[in-house]
């Protein structure tokens, strides 16, 4: 177990700078998720930590050692690949013990180790099978087993769940959480699925075009997004954004939207803001209420209703743009119906023209 420290890391492919002077500290024993859209450099970062990619600038430390120029096998990290990269010609047991067998450890020791890990991952019955005979979830467990056997200081995962179907994904997510609970090894986990990041990680690092957009706990990222990018990226369905004009009022902020809508918001810490400014209002679907005509602030027409049993998503076209409303399964509106939306102003977010959040000074946690 060890912490991982990245200091001033840059990565260029040819002339193209993919990671730009990035600093990151992953505490010992934490589960850190690297989250971001496709192509933002998540895999590249992970691969640099693993030593599969050289760094162009900066240093990497694992525990107390600087490993920037060490070979992959000397870094004490283990990696689980997106497609698992199980060796198709070896059985599960052989896959798990491959690194031991490379190091010519005695067969008996290998068997013992395989049995122990199989027990831990519930693979006992599968030890003699080939990867082709395994289901997606079983493959993933073998891939984890192969990493476990090396007793690494840091576990690296590159989108290990993205190949699984929805049901299995939920299940494997749980297994991973339990594994981390048991082992308490440092884990760095790359994903572009925010649900995974939210449910698994102690710390989420949101990457955007090679720089860290925000790093913090899931709660922080969901409830106090530092900028519009994070706000829009985290949460499903995504946050609604509405264009507005902000005016500083006494004891708060007034937003005017469209022709006739005005909202009073709790005060924000906006250094040096007076007068009026163009901003965006951000509001999560669950913080909008569908009321019968006239009850809310914004009027609109229902375009689609998605009924999921426990919840419903209602897609509403308003004068300010389309909005999504999340409500419990009981609500019944029909497409085409005219509705009114009321916004929970306590939970509203405001972003300035550069996308930075205006943090609420007093907020209900």
């Amino acid at each position: 177990m060890a912490s991982v420290e990245l200091a001033g890391i840059s990565k260029r492919f040819g002339g193209h700078e993919v990671i730009r002077g990035l600093n990151l500290s992953v505490p010992d024993g934490s589960f850190t998720a690297l989250l971001g859209p496709s192509g933002c450099g998540k895999s590249t970062m992970l691969r640099m930590i693993a030593g599969l990619e050289t760094v162009s600038d900066g240093t990497i430390r694992i525990g107390t050692r600087e490993v920037t120029h060490l070979e992959p096998k000397a870094r004490g990290v283990a990696m689980v690949f997106q497609n698992y990269a199980l060796y198709p010609h070896l059985t599960v047991a052989e896959n798990i013990c491959f690194s031991m067998s490379l190091a010519r450890e005695p067969k008996a020791k290998q068997r013992e180790m395989a049995a122990r890990i199989a027990k831990m991952l519930h693979l006992e019955e599968l030890l003699e099978r080939k990867p082709a005979q395994l289901s997606g979830g079983q493959r993933q467990r073998v891939a984890i087993g192969r990493a476990l056997v090396r007793d690494p200081q840091v576990f690296l995962f590159d989108e290990p769940l993205s190949n699984l179907d929805a049901l299995l994904r939920v299940q494997m997510r749980l297994e991973l959480a339990k594994l981390h609970n048991d082992l308490k090894t440092t884990m760095i986990y790359v994903t572009h699925d925010q649900v995974e990041a939210m449910t698994l990680a102690d710390q989420i690092v949101v990457l955007d075009k090679g720089v860290i957009s925000q790093a913090g706990s899931p709660w922080e990222l969901y409830n106090r997004p530092a900028n519009r990018f994070v706000a829009g990226f985290i949460g499903s369905p995504a946050m609604n954004f509405l264009p507005a004009r902000a005016r500083a009022g006494s004891g708060g902020l007034t937003l005017t939207m469209g022709d006739d809508i005005a909202l009073a918001l709790p005060p924000r810490a906006v250094p040096g803001f007076t007068g009026e400014r163009a901003v965006e209002l951000g509001i999560r679907p669950e913080h909008v209420k569908l009321t019968s005509e006239g009850g809310g602030q914004i009027a609109g027409r229902v375009s689609v209703v998605e009924y999921l049993g426990n919840t419903s998503y209602t897609y509403v076209d308003t004068a300010l743009g389309p909005m999504i409303v999340e409500s419990d399964g009981g609500v019944k509106v029909e497409p085409g119906e005219t509705v009114s939306l009321s916004i929970d102003t306590e939970k509203a977010h405001v972003f300035d023209d550069k996308g930075l959040a205006w943090t609420q000074t007093t907020e209900a946690a």
């Binding site: 693993a50 599969l52 070979e71 992959p72 096998k73 990696m79 060796y87 010609h89 490379l102």
Partner: protein, 282 residues
């Protein structure tokens, strides 16, 4: 494959039946020369020019007996086997190593090596045969298995196929093994080769057929009757004169029989393997 499903749904698919019939006829026509050779090989020599029935009227194995008795067939089979197996093993091993190095490693001269391999595919190797003879004689290897094998090791196609194949493997396998601490040799022999024996099988089979059937070089290099390969030996005992179609064709059958049997025995694998390696190339 492609159209199997579509043919299922029309119960009485006249077009499909006709096509299958045509295929059967075409296959019969294609195979006929081989069949006719076998049919001729079991006829008495004087019957070969009289009996044109599809089924030999009075089949006999005298031709085979003649070829076996007047020759050293056991030696020739043994030599052919030794030569073909050695060529196959060495070529496949060497090509795998080289293909791996060119595909996965960076070293000076890599490009040059690759161009040389492509060039050697285009040079008519038979034009080098006199030089080969002088070289092999120079190291006293004429009339030895090693001498017969050496010049037959020029098999650029296997290297090309291996290189392309290794190029196409997902890089995660390599990376995973590197993190597990594998050396380059372990990567090749524990991972890249065993991961897909199909390619190796296919290449081995093609190489084997080529080595078994080659004539000119083994003819030059083998001096002693006991060192000859089947193709060379059978050609020498054939009568240059007379009407011995029966003997001639029974000799032909004897020369081709082992490979034919091997092919029929492993047909499924051969097809699979060649298909597989081709899929990678294509």
């Amino acid at each position: 494959m492609s159209e199997t499903r579509s043919t299922q749904h029309r119960r009485l698919d006249a077009g499909g039946v006709l096509l299958t019939l045509l295929t059967l006829i075409a296959a019969a026509v294609w195979f006929f020369p081989v069949y006719w050779a076998m049919a001729t090989s079991v006829r008495y020599d004087d019957q070969t020019v009289k009996d044109f029935a599809l089924l030999p009227q009075d089949p006999t194995f005298t031709n085979f007996l003649f070829n076996i008795q007047t020759s050293r067939l056991p030696y020739w089979y043994l030599n052919s086997t030794i030569v073909a197996v050695s060529v196959t093993v060495i070529v496949v091993f060497m090509s795998a190593c080289t293909g791996y190095a060119i595909s996965q490693l960076r070293f000076p001269g890599r490009k040059a090596l690759w161009w040389m391999i492509l060039a050697s595919f285009m040079v008519p190797i038979s034009a080098l045969i006199v030089n080969h003879f002088i070289i092999i004689a120079g190291v006293q290897l004429l009339n030895t298995h090693a001498g017969i094998v050496l010049p037959m090791l020029i098999a650029p196609v296997t290297v090309i196929v291996y290189k392309q194949f290794f190029d196409g493997l997902p890089k995660e396998f390599r990376e995973a093994a590197v993190m597990d601490g594998a050396t380059e040799f372990q990567l090749l022999f524990r991972l890249f080769l065993p991961m897909n024996w199909g390619v190796t099988t296919a290449l081995a089979i093609i190489t084997f057929i080529g080595a078994w059937n080659s004539f000119l070089w083994p003819f030059l290099a083998a001096q002693d009757e006991k060192m000859m390969t089947v193709t060379v030996g059978i050609a020498a005992v054939q009568d240059a004169f007379g009407v011995f179609y029966g003997r001639l064709l029974s000799g032909a059958v004897l020369a081709s029989l082992p490979v034919a049997l091997a092919y029929l025995l492993f047909q499924r694998r051969v097809t699979q393997a060649i298909t597989l390696s081709a899929g990678i190339k294509g």
